[in-house]
């Protein structure tokens, strides 16, 4: 990434485009202009929120810190966003699997895979911890009265 694409000005530009689109979307929605009994329109406050975003993003383009690169973007690559999305996709898949097959069935697979992905070695320890952590978590939450999705293995505990 070039310095411009890491600068506050570029961040402001991206946010400005997003905030303008959001503002336009609300403005063009029929519900936004529906008047309530007290004379307020339904879209009044959402438009204030989106409008404040537009204003702040516009300020970022011209304020004294516009050329500065935020610490978090100094060494950042686009692939960071891809990796973060991949991590989130894995977690979403885990959440779906947890609901479908049960907490004790899905969680060890998730923890083992993520520990190994993050670089935890040796594999044997990852497998052992990956099984023990979900069992401990399940026991703890069951004692606390939190109902987790149950599968065939739950009856064994």
């Amino acid at each position: 990434m070039t310095d411009f694409r890491r600068s506050n000005r570029f961040v402001g530009l991206v946010l400005l485009i997003g905030a303008c689109l959001l503002f336009a979307y609300i403005w063009l929605s029929p519900w936004a202009h529906r008047e309530m009994r007290d004379g307020f329109t339904l879209g009044f406050f959402p438009l204030i929120g989106a409008g404040a975003m537009v204003l702040c993003a516009a300020v970022m383009l011209f304020d004294p810190l516009r050329r500065e690169v935020p610490d978090g973007l100094a060494g950042a690559e686009w692939s960071d966003a891809v990796l973060a999305l991949a991590m989130l996709a894995g977690i979403a898949a885990y959440a779906v699997a947890m609901q479908a097959v049960g907490f004790l069935e899905a969680t060890p697979i998730f923890t083992i895979l993520y520990m190994l992905w993050m670089g935890f070695r040796p594999v044997r320890s990852a497998v052992l911890l990956g099984v023990l952590i979900p069992i401990g978590t399940f026991a703890l939450f069951t004692i606390l009265g939190v109902s987790l999705p149950l599968g065939p293995l739950s009856s064994l505990l």
Binding site: R34, F40, P46, G49, A84, A92, F110, M118, L144
Partner: protein, 515 residues
């Protein structure tokens, strides 16, 4: 004083369950604080769903105990490995780690513990004295004054919670926007749902809090682990050798000799804690800096217990006072206060000055828990600090997936709604992006919580003035004063870059591990 309410509060607090949750909160908090990368906000976000299942005092015990413990806990890893558990303890590294290298780690940790508890307890007493008085004043406010008070709080948050005013305010604007999704607070008509039926109830607080504070942080840490860019600090010395019984402890005389530094910490921490937006990190660095300037002969910053006393009393002295704006005005002044306010709301109690009249027993219980938490912090810190130092070495490769699982459970368990998990993940990505571009999260969560109140107060003010905008907005001298203060604050912050200067307080210090 309402003695009946006080007795009721005492009977509510001194039960096995409440004390147990307070102890669990402190123990969990010290542990979370001691683990680098986990903060009080992350901890509170993770236990927030659990707090629904507890009664009000159990919930307050868990959350306040966790908060108190976490702020002290950060000093353990700061002293042991020069890696502060949270930014709040970064100022402790200067003296703490040097002392550890000189074989005085035990003395440093004990000084951190005693000054933390002293600072915390003293500021709690200030809260107990000040909050009811301010609340009495706040009760005189009408919707117009309350509206401008909220605007002033948002301006303060935007101005002081980061070095870039526009980003702080952008974060607040996101919170305001997210707060408008779902039912309109006056007429209950659904709006801003993007055509999605599951958004009709709005964005639920738990997925928002877990996504923005816990999961986004885990994404960031997960990426660091994957990229291996993080400098792995191997603890080259054995902790057993550093903190063994034979190493030098702290005498009572040494503790007392730091009264001036602790006094500075208490004064600065209490003031900074009451102001929305600043927080414990600024308090610690300011106290440390002032003590260093005032007492050059004490060699603060070169391995002195006095630097630890100032910094630790300073950061812990913000814990109680951060609740003052929440209790007195119903406006949370920090992310943690917002989460404690959210826990109260989930228990059916809306934080506001009326709380002192409507739920005096809850207020008294909160005050008792604030004071009691210090004793447990002292006891747990004294007994297990050296165990927690080992906890700080827990590998991130185990910690990150475990907290990810906890976050999913937390988001799911609150309502057993799979959409909450998806929403949490989406908000986590937003939080991750905010961290990357240096946008503070605190204004978002606080504005999200006060957005409905802001709208209700404006609409109520207009109703009272029969649609006259000028009267509704500037109908009293107090309202004009508050509006002027908010405008002045924004102009001064923009011109003088106050947020930038405050955030540089920490950066201007020497490299802590340098010597």
């Amino acid at each position: 004083m309402n003695t009946d309410a006080l007795y009721e509060a005492l009977s509510l607090v001194f039960t096995f369950k409440t004390i147990m949750w307070l102890v669990i909160g402190v123990a969990l908090g010290v542990g979370l604080g001691a683990i680098p990368g986990l903060t009080a906000s992350t901890g509170i976000a993770l236990v927030l769903p659990l707090s629904f299942m507890l009664d009000i005092t159990g919930s307050l015990g868990l959350l306040i105990g966790l908060y108190k413990g976490a702020v002290f806990g950060g000093s353990i890893s700061a002293i042991s490995f020069a890696t502060p558990g949270s930014p709040d303890s970064a100022a402790t590294v200067f003296d703490g780690y040097r002392m550890t290298k000189e074989g005085k780690g035990r003395k440093a940790i004990l000084m951190a513990l005693y000054s933390s508890v002293t600072g915390d307890a003293a500021s709690d007493i200030v809260v107990i004295l000040v909050a009811p008085t301010i609340a009495l004043l706040a009760l005189q406010f009408g919707p117009t004054e309350r509206l401008w008070l909220m605007v002033l709080a948002i301006a303060l948050l935007g101005a002081l919670s980061g070095r870039h005013l526009a980003k702080g305010l952008f974060s607040a604007a996101i919170g305001l926007f997210l707060g408008t999704i779902g039912a309109d607070p006056v007429s209950s008509v659904a709006r801003n749902t993007f055509g999605q039926d599951w958004l009709r109830d709005g964005i639920h607080l738990v997925p928002l809090v877990i996504g923005v504070f816990a999961m986004s942080q885990m994404l960031e840490q997960g990426l660091e682990l994957l990229r291996r860019t993080r400098a792995v600090r191997e603890a080259t010395m054995k902790l057993g050798d550093l903190f063994g019984r034979n190493t030098e402890g702290l005498t009572f005389r040494e503790y007392l000799s730091a009264w001036r530094e602790m006094g500075i910490g208490i004064g600065v921490g209490t003031f900074v804690g009451i102001l929305p937006g600043l927080g414990a990190t600024v308090a610690a660095f300011l106290s440390f800096g002032i003590a260093k300037q005032l007492f050059p002969k004490k060699r603060i910053g070169e391995g002195s217990i006095y630097g630890i006393a100032a910094a630790e009393a300073g950061n812990n002295a913000t814990v109680g006072p951060t609740l003052v704006p929440l209790l007195a005005f119903g406006i949370p002044g920090s992310a943690t206060a917002a989460l404690i306010g959210a826990a109260l709301m989930l228990q059916g109690i809306t934080p506001s000055p009326r709380m002192f009249q409507m739920y005096p027993e809850v207020i008294y219980a909160l005050f008792i828990i604030l004071i009691l938490g210090n004793f447990f912090n002292l006891a747990i810190g004294r007994m297990f600090a050296f165990f927690y130092a080992r906890l700080g070495q827990l590998p991130g490769e185990i910690l990150v997936p475990t907290i990810m699982v906890m976050s999913v459970i937390g988001a799911y368990a609150a309502r057993s709604d799979p959409y909450d998990v998806l929403m949490m993940l989406g908000l986590a990505f937003m939080g991750f992006g905010m961290r990357k571009v240096g946008m503070p999260e605190a204004p978002l969560i606080i504005t999200f919580l006060i957005a409905p109140l802001l709208e209700q107060n404006l609409r109520r003010a207009l109703l009272i003035t029969r649609g006259e905008w000028s009267d509704a907005l500037f109908g009293s001298p107090v309202a004009i004063g508050l509006a002027g203060a908010a405008a002045l604050l924004l102009v001064v912050t923009m011109r003088a870059n106050i947020g930038g200067r405050l955030s540089r307080v920490g950066r201007q210090q020497d490299e802590p591990t340098g010597g």
